[in-house]
């Protein structure tokens, strides 16, 4: 796929602490094409949010991007500074955060916040900005958008607020939207509506999505491709169907094995035995080794990236053999387009 809108190459983000540099993101690479949805999966602390913030240049000291590139339409944006980077944020890459209760300023009207977002990039009158804000609200399925503009965040439900956040992200028709677990805090039916809406938007506007989530069921029903992260690294990637039907990395397999057959969307990522290692003292070699059933003698050395058919990869010395049985279905619903 050479027509990637967003290509992340060997991204390294570190936090300077007293115990030394914490490698929260350690050599992450992936790419997303126009109108495609990439699911970024992993346990808590695996570095998904930090990856998202890094792409937007929102890492603050003591954190810093220590290496790698973020190519937006072929141009490396990690080198942009100050106003040049500001012009990318919100206009070409937008981000939606996890907690809809916290992402809108409680003392400003929805309209005020949206108008500010429009005028951050376009020199238009307040009236024109307001009209655009209203249209964006309508586009994400918010009823009576004119009234909503006059409302304060606390007057809207969580689902509504998250739609507002998505509408704000859509204001400038960005090439990429990074959605950091935007539906985790919502109940299942609202989540379903939003996922369907997102799929439609990706298909209609060609916006590429990086959909960060704990929830494998969401990924299987929404995403075209999957990246599984563990301790700051991508341990497996590939087309969503293939990875779910036949995982090649023991960690992905562990995640999938603990998903009940008819997994309800909205429940948390099931537990793999053992616990997430602390970044401060990762084991030598493969970070997953202490929890891995397949661990062998080679696993005390850093595993190589193995490339398989259909562009799949796994970061493992002993990848699982492909299975050729019936594709496993996690959910009966799918929001993916027919193609």
């Amino acid at each position: 796929m050479s027509d990637a809108v967003l290509r992340v190459n060997n991204l390294q983000t570190q936090f300077q602490t007293r115990a030394g540099a914490l490698k929260a993101v350690d050599g992450v690479s992936f790419e997303v094409g126009r109108g495609r949805i990439l699911g970024l999966v992993g346990e808590s602390g695996s570095g998904k949010s930090v990856t998202g913030y890094s792409i937007l240049g929102l890492i603050e000291p003591p954190g810093k991007i220590a290496g790698g590139e973020v190519l937006l339409n072929g141009k490396d944006i990690t080198r942009l500074r100050g106003d040049a980077m500001r012009q990318v944020r919100g206009a070409q890459i937008a981000m939606v955060f996890q907690d809809p209760m916290m992402t809108l300023n409680p003392v400003l009207k929805i309209g005020t916040q949206m108008i500010a977002a429009v005028r951050a990039h376009d020199r238009v009158s307040r009236k024109a900005a307001r009209a655009r804000a209203r249209d964006a609200l309508a586009k994400v399925g918010i009823p009576s958008p004119d009234e909503r503009l006059e409302a304060y965040p606390h007057q809207l439900s969580g689902g509504m607020r998250q739609r507002v956040a998505i509408a704000i992200a859509l204001l400038h028709n960005p090439a990429v939207i990074i959605a950091d677990e935007p539906t985790t805090a919502l109940d299942v039916s609202i989540q379903g509506q939003i996922l369907a809406e997102v799929r439609r938007l990706a298909d209609e506007t060609g916006t590429a999505f990086v959909w960060v989530t704990h929830d494998l069921a969401v990924v299987s029903s929404l995403a075209d491709d999957i990246c599984v992260m563990y301790a700051g690294r991508v341990v497996e990637s590939g087309p969503a169907d293939d990875v779910i039907a036949s995982p090649r990395h023991p960690y992905t397999a562990g995640l999938l094995a603990s998903v009940p057959a008819e997994h309800e969307p909205g429940t948390k990522l099931p537990q793999v035995p053992g616990s997430t290692p602390s970044l401060a003292n990762l084991p030598q070699g493969c970070a997953f080794a202490p929890r891995c059933a397949k661990a062998g003698p080679a696993c005390t050395t850093t595993p190589p990236v193995q490339h398989f058919e259909d562009g799949r990869t796994a970061l493992c010395h002993y990848p699982i053999e492909p299975v050729s049985c019936q594709p496993l279905s996690l959910t009966s619903t799918t929001y993916r387009s027919a193609s």
């Binding site: 913030y53 929102l58 944020r89 955060f97 992402t103 809108l104 300023n105 500010a116 606390h154």
Partner: protein
């Protein structure tokens, strides 16, 4: 909104009444003012006559009701010393204190908020640390001492500004003000800065704390993710959020500055209400003390009422609670 207003006004009234009782009892407990008022050598008949005249022989609650009744008719009594209606006496001193207090508040606000914003925006910078150090001085060094220091430096050593007094005044809307002339400003500058110092320190710290908190919030991160410029982030998100605690403190401080500018007024010989009350206390001029304290209570209550109303405008979440 109207219901909220009526409720708050009723509350305010209760506070004023309660305070008037406490003040009355408190001042009564200080002792019989007759002993201070008249020459100890004067005869018993004169003494009796005066006691009768001021009603000191009546039961306490009766004295209180007479006092309250008079007050409702705009009569707060007559000063034992000046032989003038107390209200006129206090009101004649009010403009001096008012302009001093307001100038001090303006200095504190227009210096304190920008300095606090900067210190909160770049908390690790050297300039921020210098600002915070200054703010600690602002409210830990005694005010009279700073006042004397200011006089020493700017009046005595440098000779730039007068050392005290009020200078020329002009009459504006029936009030004598000195901030209307340049020369008047030269008199008010030092005492106003002296009075502002504590508030300045307080406002810097308050603004900084609010700024640090808001800057690390999710919604500021979200605003940045939308590409808002830093000046917009601070001017829109930070200012609006920190304005709520600032308005509260501003109101409280304005009240206490008006009521207790005593030290500064004494050091700079500023003829305001603070000096009046100090003088009245030393000679036990009871009507002045009582009227002054009740006026202060009234002032506090009024300012609080206004703050509450502004508060409701600033924070939509409070408006909802009040309406329901």
């Amino acid at each position: 909104m109207i219901g909220f207003l009526i409720q708050r006004i009723l509350q305010a009234l209760m506070v004023v009444i309660a305070m008037s009782i406490i003040v009355f009892l408190g001042v009564y407990a200080i002792g019989n003012p007759i002993d201070v008022m008249i020459d100890p050598a004067s005869d018993q008949a004169l003494r009796e006559a005066l006691i009768q005249r001021y009603g000191f022989d009546r039961p306490l609650f009766e004295q209180y009701f007479i006092f309250m009744n008079n007050m409702l008719h705009g009569d707060l009594g007559e000063s034992f010393i000046y032989r003038l209606p107390v209200l006129n006496l206090i009101l004649s001193r009010l403009p001096a204190t008012l302009e001093l207090a307001l100038t001090a508040m303006l200095i504190a606000t227009f210096l304190g908020i920008p300095l606090g914003l900067w210190a909160g925006y770049k908390p690790d910078s050297l300039s921020a640390k210098a600002i915070m150090g200054f703010s600690v001085l602002g409210f830990s060094v005694p005010s009279f001492w700073v006042g004397l220091l200011l006089i020493m430096v700017f009046a005595v050593e440098l000779g730039w500004l007068p050392s005290g007094g009020r200078g020329p005044t002009t009459e504006v809307l029936g009030m004598n003000l000195s901030i209307t002339s340049l020369e008047g400003w030269s008199y008010i500058l030092l005492p106003a800065f002296n009075l502002a110092l504590f508030k300045l320190g307080l406002l810097i710290r308050l603004t900084r704390a609010g700024t640090v908190e808001v800057m690390s919030s999710d919604y500021v991160r979200f605003a940045r993710a939308q590409g808002l410029s830093e000046s917009k982030v601070v001017g829109l998100h930070v200012l609006k959020n920190i304005s709520i605690p600032i308005v509260t403190v501003f109101g409280l401080e304005l009240g206490s500055t008006l009521a207790f500018a005593v030290v500064t007024e004494t050091v700079f010989n500023w003829p305001g209400m603070g000096k009046l009350i100090i003088d009245s206390i030393t000679v036990l001029d009871r009507p002045v003390m009582v009227a002054y304290l009740i006026l202060v209570v009234f002032l506090f209550v009024m300012i609080n009422l206004v703050v509450d109303l502004i508060y409701g405008q600033l924070d939509p979440r409070i408006r909802v609670k009040a309406a329901s």
